[in-house]
Amino acid sequence: MDCPVCKNEPMIVLELNEVEIDYCLSCKGIWLDAGELELLLGSSTETVEFLNSFTSDDITKEKTHKCPICNKKMEKILVIGNRKVRIDKCKYNHGIWFDSGELEDILGMRKLDNKNKVLTLLNDMLGKKIKE
């Protein structure tokens, strides 16, 4: 699977403690497959809640990317918390693309998982210091 932003740049898969992400080494973006988000968050209700909180953003001028699985244009999604984060989601539900840092931002502001276990693990995985 190639990175949707860098193109022709193969993404690698990282696994730590049974959590798995697709990761681009050059732009540090993260791709989560459809089932992967559920495994990451650990429960399907939270995932559904998370996905339902999406509002699609048609007016943005940000460059669109193509889904690495079906190669069709992904739609822009706004995740609104104390800040706004704009992510790319495949219209055919193949997965979600997070630019560098976006996933951490969302996990940080939404408090999706209790005690931020996922955020801690993610930061650990990518060698970042845990933000207080």
């Binding site: 699977m1 193969p10 540090k28 995985m125 060698g127």
Partner: protein, 480 residues
């Protein structure tokens, strides 16, 4: 056993010829509808030509076409030792002359099929989902079922009748379409003389009816053969494994799955152990299905009580479906008692869903020639075959890891060359130069031998050492 295969062949040949005659008659009437009296024989000839051509293609290239269409990948022992183990076991039980080639289809839906025109040249393909969900006993049941298809020459036969069916459908399609666009064939009618006109009109009407009915007829015949063969393969599988519960459980697990196979289609559906295409909407009648209903197959298997030979299966079958011979009489004459064995203890293990999802993903990646690197910090990196750098710095701890990139290139796409060079060089010095590889975890791991050839260890690899197939070095494996 041999008598059984012959009886099976005879019956199938008969149905096969009925289908063939169907095709030729269709060709005759279509030809007649187009060009009058002489046209009939031209049509007959054309239909025969199409049949022969398609049969030739499917005989010589059919296997590889089917395997290619299903995106099955040939795998080596290391990718799934248990699968090889089970296939070898069943190969011995079935007295197959050679070890079949083993393919894995990187798909989540559990399913399996076999191809091969004769037992000397055959292949078994299973999906990654099947390997992940089934335990050893169940896998054995499925493999035995597929092995029986090869032994009974079902694959050859189903391919040929599939081709025949395809030809019939093709011919009638072409005819019906051309009728539609040429306005009922009036163009052809006007060309012939007045006397012939009436005859031709009749021919057109008959051809139309035939074109509509023949594909239906042929399909029903094809499906009838297909269903009967599934029962027979089930019966043979029970006989080979002596453990009906294994196959019953496997079928149960397969029928519970919600995934549809992305690579299966109507043409290849009959080959699989369970119908890979989910019926849309209501349950279709038994008449139009390539496979017998799953719950019936399971019920028959669970009803087998006394032993595992053909009579026991036939008895179980009769108690559920009523009097109907599924096993040719020669099989029934077999009096040898085959006792049912007990389940193997090792087959009772459960994994968390997360763990099994990971294992499934890793298996699919291994089949797709991914490389597995374990950094010393504990992070696992899985690199796709198109990864082109020979060094990777770990995103977690920053350590530089060597990527056996040249070897990776050899793994992706150049397997044929690789196999050619696989002869062990008889270099005494190299043979003494053994080295130790320390495993970092229990998962998939990729490393390179000193000679540069890539080695991939699967989670199930448990030997203390092995010999490199390229240079003959002994590689010792140590670690957790």
């Amino acid at each position: 056993m041999w008598e059984l295969i012959r009886a099976n062949k005879r019956k199938s040949l008969f149905l096969f010829f009925v289908m063939g005659i169907c095709l030729l008659v269709l060709g005759f009437f279509i030809g007649g509808a187009y060009a009058g009296d002489d046209g009939g024989f031209i049509g007959l000839f054309v239909a025969f030509g199409i049949w022969i051509l398609m049969s030739m293609i499917s005989y010589f290239r059919g296997d590889s076409i089917i395997l290619m269409m299903s995106r099955a990948k040939k795998v080596s022992y290391n990718v799934h030792p248990q699968l090889f183990n089970v296939v070898e076991e069943m190969k011995l039980a079935a007295n197959l002359p050679v070890m079949p080639d083993i393919y894995i289809i990187p798909e989540e839906a559990p399913n399996a099929f076999a191809v091969g025109k004769k037992p000397e040249y055959c292949a078994i393909a299973v999906t990654a989902g099947l390997l992940e969900r089934l335990n050893r006993d169940e896998l054995q049941g499925v493999i035995a079922h597929e092995m029986s298809h090869i032994l009974n020459r079902d694959v050859l036969f189903m391919t040929f009748s599939g081709v025949l069916l395809g030809s019939i459908v093709f011919l009638s399609h072409v005819f019906l379409r051309s009728m539609w666009f040429s306005g009922g064939g009036s163009r052809f009618r006007s060309k012939s003389s007045k006397g012939g006109g009436q005859l031709q009109l009749i021919l057109i009407v008959v051809a139309l009816i035939m074109a509509i009915l023949a594909p239906l007829m042929a399909r029903l015949l094809y499906l009838a053969i297909s269903r009967k063969r599934e029962y027979l393969a089930d019966a043979s599988a029970v006989r080979l494994t002596r453990y009906p519960e294994g196959l019953a459980c496997a079928l149960e697990k397969i029928s519970l799955n919600n995934y549809e196979m992305k690579t299966a289609n109507k043409a290849t559906a009959a080959l699989y152990i369970a119908n890979p295409l989910k019926p849309k909407g209501m349950k279709l009648s038994n008449l139009t299905s390539t496979h017998p209903p799953m719950d019936e197959r399971i019920r028959i298997l669970r009803n087998i009580s006394h032993g595992a030979n053909f009579i026991d299966y036939q008895n179980a079958f009769t108690s559920i479906k009523g009097k109907q011979n599924i096993i040719p009489s020669s099989g029934i004459r077999e009096r040898k008692k085959i006792n049912i064995r007990t389940s193997t203890a090792a087959s009772t293990q459960t994994k968390s869903t997360k763990k099994s999802t990971r294992d499934l993903g890793d298996l699919m990646r291994a089949v797709n020639k991914y490389m597995f690197l374990s950094c010393a910090c504990g992070l696992k990196m899985k690199l796709p075959p198109n990864f082109k750098k020979d060094k990777i710095s770990c995103p977690r701890c920053g350590r530089e890891n060597h990527v056996p990139i040249a070897e990776l290139a050899a793994m992706s796409g150049m397997i044929a060359i690789d196999e050619k060079n696989d002869s062990i060089q008889n270099n005494e010095q190299v043979k003494q130069d053994s080295f130790v590889y320390n495993r970092t975890g229990k998962g998939w791991e990729t490393f390179s031998c000193r000679c540069g050839s890539p080695k991939q260890l699967s989670p199930a690899f448990n030997k203390a050492s092995f010999v490199c197939n390229k240079c003959g070095r002994k590689i010792e494996i140590k670690g957790p």
